[in-house]
């Protein structure tokens, strides 16, 4: 009897612990967001730090984005090739690849690689600053760490995620066109013509809005985990791991909500 009761109690304790943990994480992220917004409302952030972050986030990661985007376009064409050649619809390949990549797969893949390259990096950097007490040093110099460190990163991640998605979409189409030419013998001009005929501006814009939201999610999550690091090198590693996992869940959830909203309003 007592054994049954302890197992019930430990189950309840488990549920309670998990909900407390979830509440603290969600609350912490919300508070980070509130701090960021409060520091931005009259815009008080360091312009030079902002430009440095724009360079670091955008210019230093565009090569990875281009490579991943090219491969994504190639994969989409390769996978739809069997189906398209079965129904003799080679002129539809550009349309099919463009549709999937602009509205869904482009922002998603670029968001995931962005969260790995930039989000993880950001968490590691902020975490190192916390562990080596550089954030405390800023505070003791009467500099608000959110204004000086977090806001420029947040802004540059949101802006650069959107811009890099435009670049990624372009290179995904180039990768798809090359693959269609090499593997299927479908002329690249035909590929581009079918892409342009399809008039995918709506999908493209929806994809960019999604990318902007992904950048927002990644920025908030990575800054929260970076600022809440505890305990040396091990803590930094664990924080990066948690940040990447939470960003992935956030990206998928935001993606679902955005798609639902778009379908509801008939934008897609």
């Amino acid at each position: 009897m007592s054994r049954g009761r302890t197992s019930v109690l430990s189950g309840a304790a488990f549920v309670g612990n998990r909900s407390l943990w979830l509440a603290s994480v969600v609350g912490g992220m919300t508070m980070t967001l509130v701090h960021i917004v409060r520091a931005m409302i009259p815009p008080r952030f360091d312009w030079r730090e902002f430009m440095r972050n724009m360079y670091k986030v955008g210019v230093k990661s565009y090569l990875v984005i281009i490579v991943v985007a090219c491969f994504t376009g190639a994969i989409m064409v390769v996978q739809s090739a069997t189906y398209m050649s079965k129904i003799h619809a080679n002129h539809m390949i550009g349309w099919g690849a463009g549709l999937t990549i602009f509205s869904e797969l482009g922002p998603l893949m670029i968001g995931l690689i962005f969260s790995g390259r930039v989000g993880a990096n950001n968490t590691a950097e902020l975490g190192t600053m916390v562990v080596t007490e550089q954030v405390h040093a800023l505070r003791s110099l009467a500099i608000d760490p959110v204004e000086y460190l977090v806001v420029p990163r947040f802004l540059s991640m949101v802006i650069m995620m959107t811009v890099l998605t435009v670049l990624g979409d372009l290179f995904a189409m180039i990768g798809g066109a090359i693959t269609a030419q090499v593997m299927l013998g479908c002329d690249w001009r035909e590929f581009l013509a079918s892409l342009l005929d399809a008039q995918l501006l709506g999908e493209f814009v929806v994809g960019l809005c999604k990318a902007c939201l992904f950048g927002f999610t990644i920025a908030v999550v990575s800054c929260y985990y970076g600022l809440s690091v505890r305990g040396g090198a091990r803590g930094v590693g664990r924080a990066v791991n948690n940040a990447v996992v939470a960003s992935a869940i956030g990206i998928f959830a935001v993606d679902y909500l955005a798609t639902l909203l778009c379908v509801e309003f008939g934008w897609l």
Binding site: K60, L63, V64, V67, V68, F71, T72, A74, I75, V78, Q79, A81, T82, Y83, L99, S103, E104, L108, M109, L112, I113, G116, R117, A120, N121, T123, A124, E125, G127, T128, V131, T132, M183, G232, A233, R234, G235, V236, G237, R238, V240, N241, V244, V245, A248, I249, F252, A253, D255, Y256, T259, L260, V263, L268
Partner: protein, 283 residues
Amino acid sequence: MSDKPQTPNLLEEETSTHHTVQDGRLISFIRDMGRATTDGVGGVVRFFNLCSHTMSSILRGRIMWRRVASEMYEVGNRSLIFIVVTLSFLSMVMIYQTATQMSRIYPDFSMLGAGYIEMMVKLFGPTLTALMIATRVGTGIAAEIGSMVVTEQVDALKMSNTDPVEYLVVPRFIACIIMVPMLAIVGTMVGIFAGMITADVGFDVNPIGFWDLQLVGENDIIVGLCKAFSCGVAIPMISAQAGLEAKGGSEGVGWATTRAIVSCTLAIVVIDLVWGIIGVKLL
């Protein structure tokens, strides 16, 4: 990818401008190219050294089964909820978009299930599961091994005559090889069922009509499983290599983790494309 800590990077830029003034553009360009080449080749050589070391340990039967079991629990069971959540979200999005597009052109959902299940088995199931495992497990491996390296626990292992590769890398490698294909199967099934429910609720597609396997051949299943298996080989090796190369304190661990996930993502995308081409051309 210039995955170096920031402070040394700044110093390096300063010295290189200094050299530009001293010996001209061309020489410094050649020096930079040479350094990049030796770094790249050295990284590849060290990676294959690690792979051959792991393989020889496995072939000589030096496997710590107790650690393999605990790593399998860590890789498999503890990633399950994450995989289920992410793949069900993704499949709901995919169904919503495909069905909306289809209803705009020609509102006939009879082929929705067949096409969706084929894409899920061949493409999205294995690839996205592998990406999610790289996110959760790959960064975990890099962070753990990296923090052991910078706190000199790996040196301590060497001093007590334990091979760090046998103790740290081999169990994780075997665990990933076994668990990644299994999780890919689970992820694919979750994706199909979540898509089925979404199609039923959102677009009134009969679940029995949705479960249509006419487009799924043996080749698709083989290609999907091969993709998952190759990713299961690549993820632990790349992450372990990134972790073992961590240098410096907490900053080094952060960099190792970032490098692990970026390289894993690239490797997964390349594996995906290679198996896709093999599937189209040969099978």
